[in-house]
């Protein structure tokens, strides 16, 4: 058997659930539907994790809540000989533009504003699309889910920037940079939205598509 049989997209896809089986999402082996735990890798098995949607919404909600103070409070507190200034996430990016570092300002805006907000919207959209009719195909939504999973971690950039600056720029009274309270709420927001995306069971996207065909 060489396995090169051309199985075109015209053929109906058979899922593990259709066949009375349950698949391990960690190591991809399948088991009889009533099995509780994968005997190969030990992961808990569940054909469709229905409780996952409650977890998705819960993590997403705290993620959004943490994101609000993250934008209102200062991220960095800079003190030099003559002045002391505070900057928020967006304020810091605007400062960078004033200094001519437009490229870096764009990185910060993308990583700290566009990605987190895009992620909130995308996860909520994916969750709602399971029960409501949406225009985007299952393929499109699956791609969206992959992007969310891949890109969400990169929001941590600004937290690391604050960490580096705070440890590096400690020159007694001449110049010192310290972290502001937004650093912690922003980091929490990123972590919670990562957990929201990880809780989502992408198999549910495809189930909804199948149901609408039959």
């Amino acid at each position: 058997m060489d396995g090169m049989e051309s199985a075109g997209s015209t053929r109906q896809i058979v899922t593990a659930r259709d066949s009375g089986l349950v698949a391990c999402t960690r190591c991809s082996l399948v088991w009889p539907a009533d099995k509780q735990r994968c005997a190969r890798c030990g992961s808990a098995l569940s054909s469709r994790d229905m409780a996952s949607m409650a977890r998705v919404w819960a993590w997403l909600a705290i993620g959004v809540i943490c994101y609000i103070p993250a934008n209102l409070f200062p991220m960095l507190i800079t003190s030099t000989l003559f002045s002391k200034s505070q900057s928020t996430i967006v304020g810091g990016a605007i400062d960078l533009i004033h200094h001519g570092a437009v490229g870096v300002a764009i990185i910060i805006i993308v990583a700290s504003v566009l990605i987190p907000i895009g992620k909130f919207v995308a996860v909520a959209y994916l969750a709602l699309s399971l029960n409501h009719h949406v225009k985007m195909s299952a393929h499109g939504r699956h791609k969206l889910y992959e992007y969310v999973e891949f890109i969400g971690r990169w929001s941590m950039i600004d937290v690391f920037v604050v960490a580096i600056l705070s440890s590096l720029v400690q020159l007694s009274s001449v110049a010192a940079i310290n972290p502001g309270p937004a650093a912690i709420t922003f980091a929490l927001s990123v972590i919670f939205t990562m957990l929201a995306a990880q809780s989502f069971d992408p198999r549910l996207i495809w189930d909804a598509e199948e149901d609408s065909h039959t």
Binding site: M1, D2, G3, E5, S6, A7, S9, I13, V14, T15, A16, D18, S19, L21, A23, T25, R26, C27, S28, L29, V30, P32, R40, C41, G42, S43, S47, G92, L96, H99, A101, V104, H142, R153, M156, I157, D158, V159, F160, V161, V162, A163, I164, L165, S166, S167, L168, V169, Q170, L171, V174, A175, P179, I184, A187, I191, Q198, P202, I205, W206
Partner: protein
């Protein structure tokens, strides 16, 4: 790319008799497949959603182990040596990777310090150590060491939380921010860390998860 997704796995019929170890399902969309032998260099993708199910690009555990050992060594070196330094008006301060991780250590931000230290130092090094532990006996044809299965599962679960590569971009942004405030010097750890990111990416790229699970499975049963 006509054959995309069709090599290595075949669509399984619903009537297929269930045989342990022969059927796998796509973790992303639950499409069911039967595993068939793959030639070296082939990979099997899910026909429906495109997720890579099996990749045989490299079966050599030895290469992954070598890269994982490199990760451990580089990470230790990167935390010991000075990372960056700044100087303003005759005053100089240098900071290591650990200093950066522990920048929040004072007061209410202590938890954030621990989290940053975990994301950029502890989790990457732990993942490398787990991989060495899981693969080393199998590379020499021995039975896996006790706990290899939960160790590999844990290493896989930690994958999204290993953020060394994101830290490097953070460093680049930070350097631009201080560029007109102070003079910056690069310590050896800066270059170790840059190399580290490349090695981590290679290690994860060469790691064939399905092969590892299969090897753990077989060793366990025999």
């Amino acid at each position: 790319m006509e054959k995309r997704g069709t090599c290595g796995v075949q669509d399984a019929d619903a009537s297929e008799v269930y045989r342990e170890g022969e059927l796998i399902a796509c973790p992303q969309c639950d499409a069911l497949y039967r595993v068939v032998p793959l030639a070296h260099g082939e990979r099997a993708q899910c026909v429906r959603c495109g997720t890579v199910l099996i990749s045989t690009r490299n079966r050599a555990f030895v290469r992954v182990i070598a890269l994982a050992i490199t990760v451990v060594i580089l990470m230790i070196a990167a935390t010991i040596f000075p990372f960056l330094s700044v100087s303003v008006a005759g005053l100089t301060n240098s900071s290591s990777v650990l200093d950066a991780a522990l920048a929040f250590a004072g007061g209410p931000m202590f938890g954030l310090s621990l989290a940053v230290a975990a994301l950029i130092v502890a989790i990457p090094i732990l993942r490398a150590a787990l991989v060495i532990y899981v693969l080393t006996p199998m590379a020499f044809g021995r039975a896996p060491w006790p706990g290899a299965i939960p160790a590999f599962r844990f290493s896989e679960a930690l994958r999204p939380w290993s953020m060394a590569e994101i830290f490097v971009i953070g460093v680049a942004v930070a350097l631009v921010k201080v560029a007109d405030l102070a003079r910056i010097g690069f310590g050896p750890a800066f270059w170790f860390f840059a190399a580290l990111v490349v090695v981590i990416v290679l290690k994860d790229g060469y790691m064939n998860r399905w092969t590892v699970w299969k090897a753990l499975d077989q060793q366990d049963r025999s």
